[in-house]
Subunit: 446 residues, 2 copies
């Protein structure tokens, strides 16, 4: 039996672990699932004969060595900063590794050693990054093979609540790490538009969104990701005129979220005085100029130049940000306070289902004609365990792991991401069985 | 002869070095002036019989040791990050040290050792920090000695061009490190207003200015410093209702400067693509949405919601930011590009003189009556060498150095700042001879 170790058994691991267990008997795998919480690992293994749960601590060097040494392949779903620890052991003991995280500098530095050992360290094989790379490259490679010149490329992804359960004024619920949602976009964004570099500071990010339509789901808005240009060369798009990557929300979200950005309430840089005893009302009031007469709501509406009866103000009131409710957090940053409030209102309820929405837009020229392809994906969660997020993050990594273990990727080695055909083609093909299938629409363009 | 070493002989060192040389014969001092540039140090020493110029490199450990070991006192005007290197040697060899910089953590950590050695490491004895501490504490200590309760304290400082030479639409010229001016305020600001903590993110900083009047100089505007609360305990103001520290500019500056902040052009976090070949016009256009028809000027005016003929737009045009002039900088950040442009327009001309403006506002209650004191200082530069900045930064440090050397501060030891009477009183008194004298105006309040 080949041993496969999965490190991390959190929410996003469910679909991945299920896939690996489902295929374990056929391929004679022993699937060991390690987590700091044994209960969590046991729950995911669920007594499967080919599975085994164990307590795993990435800071225990000896344990990392043992796990890696005894495994044919390790799938790491640990927080991204821990990947290099595991990867170094993999390089030493000749064990393959798969992650859904971005390639860090430390990871990249292991490429030559991995090649030498003949192993694969495959990263960015989740949803975003992951499915986005694979689906975009499949279209790009096909168009270029036909002789097309790519003029524009835009790509956006969002984790949202499925329409049937979309019953809040923000049209948003947390389907992923809430902290990342609160901190999203901090820094500067850059992209390329009609041959011109464009930069957007954080304070303007949620005012510079675009509108898109996705299949029969109607309108969405897309705000720019931090760095749209990082994959320009990797995608072979050095000559492209427009390159943009963004995050998808429902209309009205960005403008309302911008309130917190403008006020400075998403900052994670300092401790808010009295976060234990202050109320949410005092919290928001701390970002507004002192006024003896005007209530907070009036100050906010004036500050944002919106009507007190506007949808935007309703969204804010609905969150409870104006309530005289005590925050009760010790030494919390503004971002932590905001997150606590949002988690009360934006959490998925027990029977809610989530969805992943992704859309690429390609403008290309072929034989003197300009055309545009909208390539769209919608994946719905099956239930609270196999959410759309868990499926789209975990199944690509699981399929790729299977292919490594069964020798389908033989010939590949080193630190890889799934932008190459030998990887993305079979993975995308099998993903269709999991309802992960893009729908392309093509129109004439200008 | 007692040896005194002055490290750093840049523009701000002129008045300090002159003072030390002027008093050298009387006190039998040998004044050694060290700089990376021997020419610079020689120019400042100017052949004075008690002076000596030398090449100094703070990264040369052996030289630091030699200089500190042979000196009775070292005045460091090096960039603040180098102070701890010198301070550690001072603690080891029992040499006093004076700086005009904020006390860093590393400096603070040397307190006990300095006390043990019986030496003084006196910091924050320039203008801001320096004169602000001393003058504020003098009033505060006097009021409290009379039994007053301090209700509000606000303190603002600005380095500006003297009115006679104030001939630009921005009413501003660089009188200090231009880079600091471009980067000013990045991060979050916090202060206390009527008992409420107030926080302002960078993107709102230049919209939340206050108006003040200073003596017969007319109106100024004041934007908040990053941390107004750091000195609350040190000043003994834990019970104060309002505490605010700010930076002084002429009216209209903040709103116009805010353009660059809003657009993101003050960022120092990333390299602007093509900074070598792009024009300033392309630079600013990179921060605006793509538009086929509208010229940049129209986009900016619309973005800022101002008239194309407004003063604000005139200020921007006057800078040349819309010109098709090539930037020509290698791998520059937006802040570096902006700084280069500003240096062309905001530099002092050869016969210009600068000024320092400072104003404290104290509201206090004594015997049931509430009063307000405006304590104001205006210092004009004498010429291009002895600028107001050089005088107000250098003379307090020089006076304090003299007092340490002549035993006037005997009994003081450790890491100090001039918030204590034994230091601020004699220094402020002697500063009057250099036209550094506050004028107090008191009125009934409410």
């Amino acid at each position: 039996m080949k041993q496969v170790s999965i490190l991390g058994a959190g929410l996003s691991a469910s679909s991945l672990i299920k896939y690996m267990l489902d295929h374990a008997a056929e391929h004679q795998w022993k699937i060991r699932v390690g987590d700091v919480s044994l209960a969590m690992a046991q729950k995911k293994v669920d007594g499967h004969p080919n599975g085994e749960a164990f307590v795993f601590d990435v800071k225990n060097e000896q344990q990392v060595t043992e796990v890696v040494k005894s495994s044919e392949l390790v799938i790491s779903l640990l927080p991204a900063m821990f990947h290099p620890i595991v990867a170094k052991a993999c390089v030493e003991y000749g064990t393959h590794m798969v992650t859904a995280s971005y390639v860090s500098k430390e990871m990249k530095a292991l490429h030559d050693q991995a090649v030498e050992k003949g192993i694969i360290l495959l990263n960015e094989i989740g949803v975003d990054p992951g499915i986005d790379h694979m689906s975009a490259m499949q279209v790009l490679d096909r168009l270029r093979a036909e002789g097309a010149e790519i003029i524009e490329f835009e790509s956006s992804t969002g984790g949202l609540v499925a329409p049937k359960y979309d019953n809040t004024p923000w049209n948003y619920k947390f389907t992923w790490n809430p902290r990342n949602v609160v901190l999203a976009g901090q820094g500067n964004s850059q992209f390329l538009h009609n041959g011109k570099y464009k930069y957007i500071p954080y304070n303007k990010l949620f005012e510079r969104y675009e509108r898109i339509e996705v299949l029969d789901l109607g309108e969405f808005e897309v705000y720019p990701n931090r760095d749209s240009l990082g994959y320009r060369s990797i995608y072979g798009l050095d000559q492209v005129q427009t390159m943009f990557r963004g995050t998808i929300r429902r209309p009205g979200f960005c403008k309302a979220w911008n309130t917190f950005v403008q006020l400075g309430m998403t900052s994670d840089d300092y401790i808010f005085h009295n976060s234990k005893t202050a109320t949410y009302r005092e919290f928001i009031n701390s970002y507004l100029a002192y006024d003896v007469v005007k209530p907070v709501e009036d100050k906010i509406a004036a500050y944002l130049k919106v009507d007190i009866d506007s949808d935007l103000m309703y969204k804010l009131r609905w969150l409870g940000i104006f309530k005289n409710e005590v925050i009760g957090l010790d030494n919390a940053t503004p971002a932590q306070i905001l997150q606590q409030l949002l988690e009360k209102k934006w959490s998925l309820e027990s029977d809610d289902k989530d969805m992943i929405v992704m859309q690429h837009q390609f403008v290309y020229e072929l034989k003197g004609k300009r055309k545009k392809i909208y390539s769209s994906l919608v994946v719905y969660g099956e239930d609270q365990v196999h959410t759309a997020m868990s499926i789209t993050v975990g199944i690509p990594a699981a399929i790729a792991s299977k292919m490594i273990l069964t020798g389908k990727f033989d010939g590949q080695k080193g630190v890889l991401i799934p932008t190459i055909k030998p990887i993305y083609e079979p993975v995308l093909k099998e993903l269709e069985a999991y309802k992960v299938k893009f729908i392309d629409e093509e129109i004439d363009w200008q």
